[in-house]
Symmetry: C2
Subunit: 458 residues, 2 copies
Amino acid sequence: MNEKNVLPQSVSGFPEWLPQEKIAENKMLDTIRHEYELYGFVPLETPAVERQNVLISKGGDEKEIYALHRLVAQNDSEDKTASEMALHFDLTVPLARYVAQHYASLTFPFRRYQIQKVWRGERPQAGRFREFYQCDIDVVGEESLNLMTDAELPSIIYTLFTKLNIGEFVIHISNRKILSGFLRSLLIDENVHADILRIIDKKDKLAPEDMLQYLRESLQDMQDVEKVLSEINEFLSITGNHTEVFYKLRNFGVSNELFATGVNELEKVIEGVLSLGVPEKNIAINVAIVRGLEYYTGTVYETFLADHPTLGSICSGGRYDNLAGNFIERKLPGVGISIGLSRLFSRLLQEQKVNIEKSTTAPVLITVLDDAYMHTYLQVASALRAAGIGAEVYFEPKKFIKQMRYAHKKGFTLAIIGGENELSQDMIVVKNLQSGEQLTVSLDKIVDSVISQLHATQ
Amino acid sequence: MNEKNVLPQSVSGFPEWLPQEKIAENKMLDTIRHEYELYGFVPLETPAVERQNVLISKGGDEKEIYALHRLVAQNDSEDKTASEMALHFDLTVPLARYVAQHYASLTFPFRRYQIQKVWRGERPQAGRFREFYQCDIDVVGEESLNLMTDAELPSIIYTLFTKLNIGEFVIHISNRKILSGFLRSLLIDENVHADILRIIDKKDKLAPEDMLQYLRESLQDMQDVEKVLSEINEFLSITGNHTEVFYKLRNFGVSNELFATGVNELEKVIEGVLSLGVPEKNIAINVAIVRGLEYYTGTVYETFLADHPTLGSICSGGRYDNLAGNFIERKLPGVGISIGLSRLFSRLLQEQKVNIEKSTTAPVLITVLDDAYMHTYLQVASALRAAGIGAEVYFEPKKFIKQMRYAHKKGFTLAIIGGENELSQDMIVVKNLQSGEQLTVSLDKIVDSVISQLHATQ
């Protein structure tokens, strides 16, 4: 046991914030949770660890998984237990394991939100972390799940990001069947579909000519490659409002059943999204969205902030056919979205787009001018707290000016000030720290006075 | 990658709850956080991992620490990074490291709350877990910290546990200087003080005669052992209201400066606690409290639930001289308390002392009787949510009776019901699921009607 001189370092890729920053992050987390609950999602929290075989069975990248061991092995059964565990790398695998394990105790459709840290054991790239918050919702059905569920998620994204108030955003929506059906209609070999989709998935990161070249290479075995390429290119360029896009899609000359199903499903979803009050300007049909190649099978979503295009999608997800096929002999289709909050928050912080003015959660500081009146200061504090008003008492024996410096530094709204002069006459002063205004009030009116002044400064 | 037949198991000692239970746990977590904020504590969240040398330097038990490694080593620098990390086993070491590391950016006294999971790699005993929530607050001063801070913490315990509404509780308070000074006054060799304190710490778990026997063995080198034992016994038996206890302590014939300081400090703290409005019946001076032998130096707290004595202390803490001496060349005295929430919650759950009736966070279920009116159902949902009322739409094409079964099973308060009959006349039904009462209202009055009915059922 070292007694001294350990360098107090955190670990890179594991973000932590100063109090004023954490207050701002909590505000975002609270807004997200509140919105998820408004739509009737129930909370779920799974342990940070899962069995390693559970994580691997769902396709976890083994070099990204942090496994556990006891720091000092004891050659006992606890070592063995530890050696079976690893930190979860997302919230989807834990959801699948949880739903399969507790299947008989759950009510379906199972609507859950899950806001937890996840861990990825890879070198963090710019703006990415080894530990970060994910904020997920999923609706999991038994055997089937109505398509209108897919319409609800963009509505949540819309109302949530409007409340988060971090600038203009557009929700891109598609249905994977449209792109897959289109590729089939071009008679492209099924074996190269995955390659093609992977290239299209990188559309926004590639120069148009590079994308065409990659596609050309993948399609080299086809006849009329250039014609196919130009059709793909034209198809991916379809834009417009939803009426225009559906018109263009239906008149693109695609003859394929999967494609037709995809277009019809997407149209129903968009109708639902609009019925839920999402403005047309906040949605965009984008048939180029691919996402998780092996996972999503229908509706897919991505969300982009107008002011931060380089952030990529800040909220993505989609419809999948079967959540937990490797755990349970039941078909559990679902649809979900995920927000990678830490990355988003860290960017907003970097660009000074979050308010970090306050490093206090309480609006009122009670200063202590005369220890002889400690009983009164404490009573005032209790009375304010009992009325639901956050209050801190400044106990340290510092000069008044230092107490006021503390009040300003932490961003209190009001300071309560009382010395012998005031308190001997059962009076006390409430000072507005923004305007500098002072009001002398009777001690027994202090709570009412604070309430009305807090009200006035909001 | 296994494709099938992985047993969906969680790991023992890592609790997870069903939705209705998690809703109840969240309610407790929210109450705790809200109370901490009412007293002006700011949120802090540190990563789940710390450097191993940081954890060990503060006296972590190495066999209880879960260290990390990549599941599949890559022989690169990432392996090395992983090998330096371990999961934190409490929130005090991370606090110490954080305060030392961010010292220049913090405002002192630094009042922080921290509600996070911690991990301990030992076989969980009855009601103890390998992963559990701790809910901590600490006030950390620079060089000094006013004693009135020690009076604030019992006030928080009191108002918080009153709001948690889990039965009668008593906060036991002492000052470590009283017991230490008393032992010195008996001329007990300083070398056996630690032994004696360790035995007294187990007072509640030992039969009185066993405790005496252990003490007798530790004191075997003394003359007049039986006389000393009887004095210790009598001292530890001091009870009464605070006036009585202070009278008894001051008239016990102890002549020792540390003892006198301890009694005076404790008296000031108790005065503050009473000024803050804590009823006498919720506090007990208990000079036998020891707690963390090497850590606490002044005020100490333990909290016991009257209905659950076997739970032991559910909220404990105390005053320490120096938080981060091994990290930084500054004296940072502090005082703090910690609630081990998972253990408490799990016990309350076991004894059916928590309300787990609802497995929904939204009070309103909108049923779907006729797909042709989907637009209307979705608009009603949006209108309710815009008014801050949680609402879920039941999209699955199930018979009405099944939809109502779902509503009852999840514990919704109101169901909104509209078929062709009602909706063709712009009317809709609000059904109170507790009373069974139904009210047919005009569609454009639905939000007002729901608000007033929710109000009435509260």
